[in-house]
Amino acid sequence: MRWLFLASACVCILAVAVICAFLFVNGMPFFTKYSVIEFLTGTTWAPLRNVFGILPMIVGSFYVTMGALLIGAPIGILTAILMARFANSTVVKVMKPAVALLAGIPSIVYGFFGLMLLVPLIRVNFGGTGKSVLVASILLSIMILPTIIQTSEAALGAVPNSYYEGSLALGATHESSVFRTILPAARPGIVSGVVLALGRAIGETTAIIMVAGNNARMPVDLLKGVRTLTVNVLMEMGYAADLHAQSLIATGVVLFVIIMAINFLFSFLNRRRVMQ
């Protein structure tokens, strides 16, 4: 039986290794023909003229992801605290399937929802075309909520109840006990949930392509359009040829490196906490 488990694990690692290898083998030739610095810091993206600068897209992805986390992480974590420690069982019985349903909705449906509801709402109330960093951030925050809520709730549930009871015994209030003893104890789990959500937010394409305006220039305003790295690849992969196609694979490499960097950073931060 042990060999079966080993084989399954090997398939998993093999998949990651193959994707990694494909990306780097096909993306590296591009960097021999085009300077890495110019690629990463160039502000003009004009592939049909052989000008490949993806800084606008990197900044666009960064803004949209940070916006989504700023909105979604507090709401998600507080919802998880509610479901784990404050709500009565009937509320939890309604919320759990609702959150699970939210997790199951396909991205394209989120995209339609954003296009038909959020975009006109922002357009009427804030002006502009409606397709903006703001709408993309709001939509993404809704999409990452289930991830954050489910992992945070699991993390909070895993904290031994003795922490809470000890705090109460020392005279603290219910709220104080939850926020001062349980929440810090659950921090590694919550942080890993946020990292997972960040990974999903950075990689989201089908929903963003419908609501973000897709302008290939540096983001100028919260209410103006933006193009992310993933949308750039999706929009152009269909017709890209030679160097252009290689530049899009190189964009994939950049995305991969960003995700790996974020994962390493957070695992490093987590390790310090555990050691303390």
Partner: protein
């Protein structure tokens, strides 16, 4: 009770937000929301050439001056959906897709309405060819038979039914069903895809053994994939570029199609000059009030 009053308050807020979107008056001071297509789109390629949005630099290379703040969507139907949801939007799409669609309105260009008659007699300014793209190396019998059907009298009748201007003369040969079997992959322009679907239906009715698969990926993708053999037949909603012809692409003109400048039905504008179209789509004219002067 507290929960109920909170829910009521939430409902009132939502209603206020929603009702504000139902504003009846068309506000001329609003910015024009320009909608454009992705770079590989044949419709965009043809549109920027025909309206003067594309200029040539000193070396003779084409520069696309499309407004940087435009909303870029990737597909004919997405353009129409975006415009139908925004009273202050303007976009462009193929006449064959726009005709009969009640959610958007096509403007007259230089006083000429976008109709097949006006494309045939040359008075409508923004007209471009639908091209079927093949390579000499493609000798698949089912694909060649499908091509024969498209260029036959029966095929051209289907094209004419779809509000497109046919280019073949009455000397188009009649088609005889060949009863082959196989599969054909046709791919490319999202503008050409609707009429290709109708041709596929008519063809498969005569030849049940052949299965035609149509993919909408954009004109440039259609040409590239026809050249590399992924598609047996490519579709492009623009003329072929010199570089594409040099690589061996052969284009057969299927029909002439118009590109309509579309706006929301609530927009009072009916007519626009070609020069104004250029100015709107490069971002020189930014509000609806500026257009009506």
């Amino acid at each position: 009770m507290k929960l109920r009053s909170m829910l009521a308050l939430l409902l009132v807020f939502t209603m206020a937000f929603g009702l504000s979107a139902l504003a009846a008056e068309f506000d001329q001071s609003q910015t024009i929301a320009v909608v454009s297509r992705e770079e590989g789109s044949g419709t965009r390629g043809a549109f920027i050439e025909l309206t003067g949005i594309a200029t040539k630099d000193a070396a003779g290379a084409e520069i696309d001056n499309t407004y940087a703040e435009a909303d870029f969507v990737n597909g004919t139907s997405l353009v129409m959906t975006t415009v139908s949801f925004n009273e202050y939007a303007v976009g462009y799409a193929s006449l064959s897709s726009v005709e009969g669609n009640g959610t958007i309105k096509a403007l007259k260009v230089n006083g000429v309405a976008a109709t097949t008659e006006n494309i045939l007699n040359g008075t409508y300014a923004i007209a471009r060819p639908f091209n079927i793209v093949t390579v000499d190396a493609m000798q698949d019998p089912s694909a060649l038979d499908f091509l024969a059907f498209i260029m036959s009298k029966e095929g051209q009748a289907v094209v004419a039914d779809n509000k497109l201007v046919t280019v073949t003369t009455d000397a188009a040969p009649g088609y005889v069903a060949s009863n082959l079997s196989g599969s054909v992959t046709v791919g490319g322009s999202t503008s050409v895809a609707p009429v290709m679907e109708k041709l596929k239906e008519a063809y498969e009715a005569l030849n049940p053994g052949v299965k035609v698969d149509i993919q909408s990926t954009g004109s440039t993708a259609g040409v590239i994939n026809a050249l590399n053999g992924t598609y047996q037949i490519g579709m492009a909603s623009r003329s072929l570029k010199d570089s594409e012809l040099a690589s061996g692409a052969k284009g057969i003109v299927l029909a002439m199609d118009g590109i309509c400048v579309i706006v929301h039905p609530a927009n009072p504008l009916e007519d626009i000059t070609l020069e104004q179209v250029r100015q709107v789509f490069i971002g020189e004219i930014t509000t609806w009030a500026d257009l009506n002067i």
